[in-house]
């Protein structure tokens, strides 16, 4: 039983092997981008919205609403980041039902990359909002003694994010593999249905946690809730 798609090389160019994780990530990217281009190509005020455009608007506005409920600084940059996280993870997990498709999120490299992205994005959002001095000063809050703990906390939640996503996605695959050996004709269907549910939940949790971390990094103490449009 192959558990890590990183180890499967699909093709090689110039001595560099492109594994399943990267290739299927491109597939997901192509699906998301292609569908977005097709749906939004005739997006003009004088053209009435069709059902696909309406569905897309619902998805985007729901994501934006969730972010606005969580973050104090609900800028569009947060939407771009957290929304892409959700759509990428959700699409990858939903494609689990496609025979032969290996979700990129089942790779620890992908989850680590997403966690690393969050880890890098949080200080960038914080610096863009508070300024470099203001953001670094937040590590000494409420006192200088808390500096090492804040640094450890900063890295630990990034690690926990990646492990949580990987563990949940992989657990489904591992459980499915075990149960496949016990009852090969019944359990795979149930596990696929369960995988769809847990995949959406994981995508939601990952995006919400990322938004929470960004919100914490961009919020000044005692600052009232404010929504920005950029």
């Amino acid at each position: 039983m192959q558990l890590m798609p990183d180890e499967i090389i699909v093709f090689t160019i110039g001595g560099f092997g492109f594994n399943e994780t990267i290739v299927y990530t491109w597939v997901v990217m192509a699906i998301l981008t292609g569908s977005s281009i097709i749906i939004t190509r005739n997006l003009r005020p004088d053209v009435p919205p069709n059902r696909w455009r309406t569905a897309l608007e619902v998805i985007v506005t729901v994501i934006q609403g969730q972010i606005e409920d969580i973050a104090r600084h609900a800028s569009r940059h947060v939407l771009y980041f957290s929304g892409t996280l959700f759509l990428f993870i959700a699409t990858s997990n939903l494609l689990l039902v496609v025979p032969g498709f290996s979700p990129p999120t089942a790779s620890l490299s992908t989850t680590a990359a997403l966690a690393l992205s969050v880890l890098i994005a949080v200080p960038l959002f914080g610096i863009s909002t508070k300024g470099l001095g203001g953001y670094l000063k937040s590590y000494t809050q409420p006192s200088v003694i808390m500096l090492p703990f804040n640094i450890i906390s900063e890295f630990s939640w990034g690690l926990s994010l990646s492990i949580r996503l990987y563990g949940n996605v992989m657990s489904g695959a591992v459980i499915a593999g075990i149960l496949l050996g016990l009852a090969p004709f019944f359990f795979p269907v149930v596990m696929d249905a369960l995988g769809l549910l847990t995949g959406l939940i994981q995508a939601y949790i990952f995006a919400v946690l990322a938004t929470v971390y960004i919100s914490l990094a961009t919020t000044k103490p005692g600052e009232p809730i404010k929504k920005e449009q950029s």
Partner: protein
């Protein structure tokens, strides 16, 4: 479980590219479209609000104009009623005046007709009375009424000789007027008797059908009349009295 850091870096890059792609082809078009639609809806709502305000103003103007028209209508109707009342009063007054004039004319005409009828009745009565008396006198006594009248006149003239002389004055002629022509004998008798009283005044005979039956002698300013007029008036009085009593009562003095 192992981590391929090359794959991690590649996935980070893939993720960043995906963020840019979705920002370019999903979020911006969708959100800008929503914003544009919201702006369009806001414009339409504001336009609808302006139209509503305009409609409200038009409605208020319409109501005010309607009220003005109602007031003007009431004034016009009141004026028309007053004018109609005035014209009605005028027409009624004219009708009353015309009716009064027609009634007056009618009464005058009726009175004239009554006078004419009465005069004709008198004349016819007098003529009938004269003819009856004349016929009765001729049939019963073989006498001519004209001759008897002339004889009666001659007797009366003798008793009035002095008054006749005074009345005659410088008169050059005397006129005897009768309804019908007098018989020759009667003419001769009257001429002889008058010549005896007034020798210088010749007598002339005149027939006047409008004159009542009898004899009228005119000398100067004096006039002596022996006609049936008084009898005719008496007969009219008797007839009136009889009609007043319903035609059943007996006329006073009729038993003589």
């Amino acid at each position: 479980m192992s981590t391929d850091w090359v794959t991690v870096i590649a996935q980070v890059a893939n993720f960043l590219v995906l963020v840019w792609l979705l920002k370019r082809f999903l979020y911006k078009p969708i959100l800008n479209g929503i914003d544009a639609r919201e702006a369009e809806i806001a414009d339409r709502m504001s336009e609808a609000e302006r139209a509503k305000t305009k409609a409200a103003a038009a409605e208020a103007e319409f109501v005010a104009r309607k009220q003005r028209l109602q007031v003007e209508d009431a004034a016009i109707v009141d004026a028309v009623h007053k004018e109609a009342q005035r014209q009605r009063d005028t027409l009624l007054a004219e009708a009353r005046q015309k009716l009064e004039l027609e009634q007056r004319d009618w009464r005058a005409h009726l009175e004239r007709e009554q006078q004419k009828f009465t005069a004709e009745l008198y004349r016819a009565g007098a003529d009938t009375l004269y003819q009856l008396v004349r016929k009765a006198l001729h049939d019963l006594a073989d006498e001519s009424l004209e001759e008897r009248i002339v004889l009666h006149v001659t007797v009366q003239l003798k008793s009035m000789a002095s008054e006749l002389l005074a009345a005659a004055g410088n008169s050059e002629t005397a006129v005897a007027i009768t309804h019908t022509a007098l018989p020759d004998g009667a003419r001769a008798t009257l001429t002889r008797e008058l010549q005896a009283l007034l020798p210088d005044v010749p007598l002339r005979f005149v027939k006047d059908e409008h004159q009542a039956p009898g004899l009228i002698l005119r000398i100067g300013s004096a006039q002596l009349a022996w006609t049936v007029d008084s009898y005719t008036e008496e007969m009219a009085d008797l007839l009136s009295e009889r009609l007043a009593t319903g035609g059943l009562g007996r006329v006073a003095g009729n038993d003589r």
